[in-house]
Amino acid sequence: MLGYVLRRLAASIPVLAIVAVLVFLMLRLTPGDPAAVIAGDNASSEQIAQVRHQLGLDQPLLVQFLIWIGNLLQGNFGESFFFKKSIGDLILGRVEPTLSLAAATMLIAVCVAIPLGVVAAYRHGSWLDRIVMGASVLGFSVPVFVIGYGMIYVFAITLGWFPVQGYQPLSAGFGGYLHRLVLPALTLSVVYIALIARMTRASVLEVLNEDYIRTARAKGQVERKILFRHALKNAAVPIVTVVGIGIALLIGGVVVTESVFAIPGLGRLTVDAVLARDYPTIQALILLFSGVYVLINLLIDLTYSLFDPRIRH
């Protein structure tokens, strides 16, 4: 098992290296001149050249890349062009809101989607199944921010149950923290619920015709236990996989949701960095998000044998 873990971990390094090269090349071959942006509107060409030299932008591309990778490996993400701060500190200060939002979303999505999917599969072809499936296509079809503004309109403006926007750190009190997290997490969970519910339904439906389900019924097992123990456990691998693939959707959704709800997290930072053409920050964020995505999917691969002992590494 440990050998398998290490081998998989080693296999994800080339992927991340390719991501690093792509991200580096992409953002360095841009037409805009970051040195001119930093030096300001009134800078002379000597001042711009000086800034360019300070940032190392006058070096050959390969040298720039090696310096950048070397610094990254030492945990140094560099200095933000726009925020004039160390990117490492900048990111650390923004992790809490994003992590809270992602965790709350995941919790809501899994708790809602899996029972929905199981029931839809059990009542296959019924009106309930049709509603769940129809609603999930609808969930895929509406952009996150439209759902977000809909939620704000109904629950914050009309009913006044939740604040319209904003974030409160956990250290300022759990009640306020949770109160401000509910709407953004509900918003972001819609797509995720749609994705997981569909996969749960398909996967459970496939399993329900198996012999061991018939055997469980024959021995008089309670239907609820048949569904949530026998069927769901056997259907788990595709469901867990889609939860992992959905992390990409979640990360994209975080960027949008944080903008809608004015949450000062990593997603908001990404948009601000792009609008300011702050290349080092964009590079660091894309690399960070991709690294998290790859690692979570690696972790999920490793959990397969927990759900299905037939899968041995």
Partner: protein, 307 residues
Amino acid sequence: MSAEPTLLAPAVATLPPPRTLPARLLRNPVVALGTGFLLLMALIGAFAPFLGTLDPTAINPATRNRPPGFERTLRAEDGSTTTFRHRMGTDSLGRDVYSRVLYGARVSLVIAVAVATIALAVGLLLGLVAGYIRPLDGPIMRLMDGLMAIPGILLAIAVVSLFRAGLPAVIAAIVVPEIPRVVRLVRSIVLSVREEPYVEAAVMAGTRLPQLMARHILPNTIAPLIVQGTFIAASAILVEAVLSFLGIGIPPEIPSWGNIMAEGRNLFRVYPHNILYPGIFLGLTVLAVNMLGDGLRDTLDPKMTGR
């Protein structure tokens, strides 16, 4: 007895199954509904100037932020006046939201078709090459793995930040993250098809590579690619809206559902109509494309499950 044969004969003469594929597809109510709605949207986009619209970019400082149904007097050149009703209100620059929403259908549909076509063409080419020319398989697939490791919207944001904002930049930004999935799909089909006896027979008979590809391998990819292309189109409409909403997509001179909503963000509490109407059009259009895709998959793809 003469009654016996009638028992065995079918009580009601069933309609013969439609022969052609489009006819078979349109029998599926989901496909018919989705296709119908998309045709309607295409007509709305094409005939937007004749549907009681104003110039969607005309700014009018006197009538900013008016609610739906607000009536304004228009003065023609000869001095005569007519009353124009802002069915969906006006935005914070006094532009007519109804006109912007109708013209906005153009951008979404153009992007959907352009992104799906380009992503399929590039993905098909790379997938055929990766699947058939062994030495190139490794490099192409590693590049695709790298692209797939970057969450789609982030990759689109990164690509769009490379260019000046505009339609081509947005199309390029949405195409790039879609390519790897097409390449993987095509490559997996090529890998399984190349072992088929008819391909081996063609190779034995001395068929040249381009002809082998075009006649024996390519046709196998068409049905799954049509299905994939529909879902790419749906996702392209959504990603354009997200990019424009974040302020890095289509510039406001070209009305798109995404940038109408971006414009409506600041005053959403007071004037929700700027997000409501384009949101409804966008949601229904994407829903129609998704329904079409689901229907196409069910009809074209029964063999393709598991691929």
